[in-house]
Symmetry: C2
Subunit: 341 residues, 2 copies
């Protein structure tokens, strides 16, 4: 972060026609965006959204409320414009890329970015989710896709995902990196029963015992539990932060990608904005570990980048505030009473 620009931004914001600090988090956001982009008047439009889709071998253990085929079916839905992320992307005039980074079946559609690394991960209860080479390749796919969005004009990156079973993998990652218990890292996913949730906890605990991912080694964690879409998001986050572009995290899964990105490069943390707090309980632990306070808290648990997209207008408002508001001086308004100070 450029702390000089942040100080300049703060001073400018304090001259705008409103009581100092009265726009709360919007002001803090504007200052963070100045530090990220190196501009007192930061720009975040157009936003670019990338949704990475992949399957998880662990889904054959029945950890999700939905069958595995739904991953591919939802990818078609993204490509046909019918999913929630399509609707919210359109509302904020975002560039939207759908990437097959590891769906278990072939998907044919001209709008799809075909970057399949593998036909879904292996079931990590029994073997590593992928090889080290595959993990690295998935990271590179993520970096490359983020670069493509930046080349097309994106000035803010939203990372989203689709992958039946991926809250299971995200819980494994969150537990390994943040040190919270598996119990704390597991929620109800897309809507499983409490009984199924208990099974999910014990499957993850057993898998972690078998795989023993190394806490501070992002590649090792990805190789052992996956997932391919999480690696893609990790790569995209790293690339965007390298280019001083703000990244809005979505829910639990994307935040575990951020945990991995921060392991790879500590400075990434400064470029992250938490779009919302998911209802999936592991998200709270992941955000706390990153020391991030979410912009929205709407009880969402969908993913796809939807919560991040919903929060985007707040970033836009922050940048518009800085750019368009009058100052006390330009508007000829009396400032605070002397005697009260």
């Amino acid at each position: 972060l450029n702390h000089e620009k942040m100080e300049e931004a703060r001073e400018h914001i304090n001259t705008l026609t409103k009581p100092v600090g009265s726009l709360g988090k919007i002001e803090e956001l504007a200052i963070q965006l100045s530090g990220i982009t190196n501009q007192v008047y930061p720009v975040v439009t157009r936003p670019g959204i990338v949704v990475f889709a992949a399957d998880h071998g662990i889904s054959e253990m029945g950890v999700s409320a939905y069958p595995k085929e739904v991953t591919a079916q939802m990818v078609y839905n993204f490509l046909d414009g019918g999913a929630a992320i399509n609707v919210f992307a359109k509302q904020i005039n975002a560039l939207l890329k759908i990437v097959d980074i590891g769906v278990a079946e072939e998907i044919n559609h001209e709008q799809l970015l075909h970057k399949k690394v593998k036909y879904g991960t292996n079931n990590y209860l029994y073997e590593n989710a992928m090889t080290e080479a595959e993990a690295t390749q998935a990271l590179l796919v993520g970096m490359e896709t983020a670069q493509q969005l930046l080349d097309e004009g994106a000035r803010c990156i939203i990372v989203g995902e689709m992958g039946i079973g991926n809250t299971t993998t995200a819980s494994a990652i969150a537990s390994v990196i943040t040190g919270c218990s598996v119990e704390e890292a597991v929620g109800l996913g897309t809507g499983i029963s409490n009984e199924n949730r208990k099974e999910k906890v014990s499957i993850i605990a057993k898998a972690l015992e078998e795989r023993k991912p190394i806490r501070n080694d992002a590649i090792d964690i990805l190789m052992k539990v996956g997932g391919l879409e999480i690696a893609g998001m990790t790569g995209a986050i790293i690339k965007a932060s390298e280019k001083r572009i703000p990244i809005i995290l979505d829910g639990f899964i994307s935040t575990t990608a951020a945990l991995l990105a921060v392991l790879l490069e500590e400075k990434v943390k400064d470029y992250l904005i938490a779009g919302h707090l998911s209802k999936e309980q592991g998200h709270y632990h992941a955000l706390t570990f990153l020391n991030k306070s979410p912009l929205l808290d709407l009880g969402l648990r969908l993913g796809e980048g939807t919560g991040a997209a919903l929060s985007f207008p707040l970033l836009e408002a922050a940048t518009n505030m800085v750019k368009e508001m009058a100052t006390f001086q330009s508007a000829g308004i009396a400032n605070e009473r002397q005697e009260d100070k």
Copy 2:
């Protein structure tokens, strides 16, 4: 509210391509909007924002961090497009009306709606803030302005205000209606010291003892403590709800107008949406009394309608979700596994 339409909306939302309930408050919002507007596919654009401006005689007691002249100066700022509400209104493509309902001086500007009822309220520490006729007239001004916005195409109403000293009046109203103590109803306003806050509490307590506003009588409360802009917002809220138009409340002051509106007409409550939770502590008590959960919590304490405007994209998202998302059937996607149900 039309409960049949709400049920229809809920059933439709449950067929959309996402796990049931996974869009949390966005789904609840969509259902409420269906009940309000009597439409399964509700429309909230364009939003209409009305900012009522007025002065408060009580401000001569030094209850605000800013001198009284700032009310008129900020009105010019609104009219010239330099205030936060101008910036946020533009971002959401809102109709914006600025109404002089009681500023203490003459304001000349062709964009201003001149509906002055009185040159500021009287200092209610010593006498009633206004007459009963003035209170009623201010309510009518509010109703008339809301109608004007609806005639120009507004399908959602945001009520905002400007008035140096109006957190003091709002605290008095909140304390009278919700029964919370004056201490609980008073915050730091636009930024006073803790010492000045104590004075503010004792001034309000003394004024309430002198004026003895009647808890269930909105006109009596307005007459005894004011304010003119609060009465304007109350009238606008009543008119919008009569026309089945959703109203987004802003912060503390606008929510006290809602408290008064609900006293006048209980059903109004159903039409209210809490845009955000203000940092001004009385707001929490007022929202709790109305049983409303705020969409945003960003530590704002500005007013003008800004927090409501910032929350508007969430209403838009709710309506877009209902209208534009594919259903499981139309997208050919498998629904939840049978065995997990």
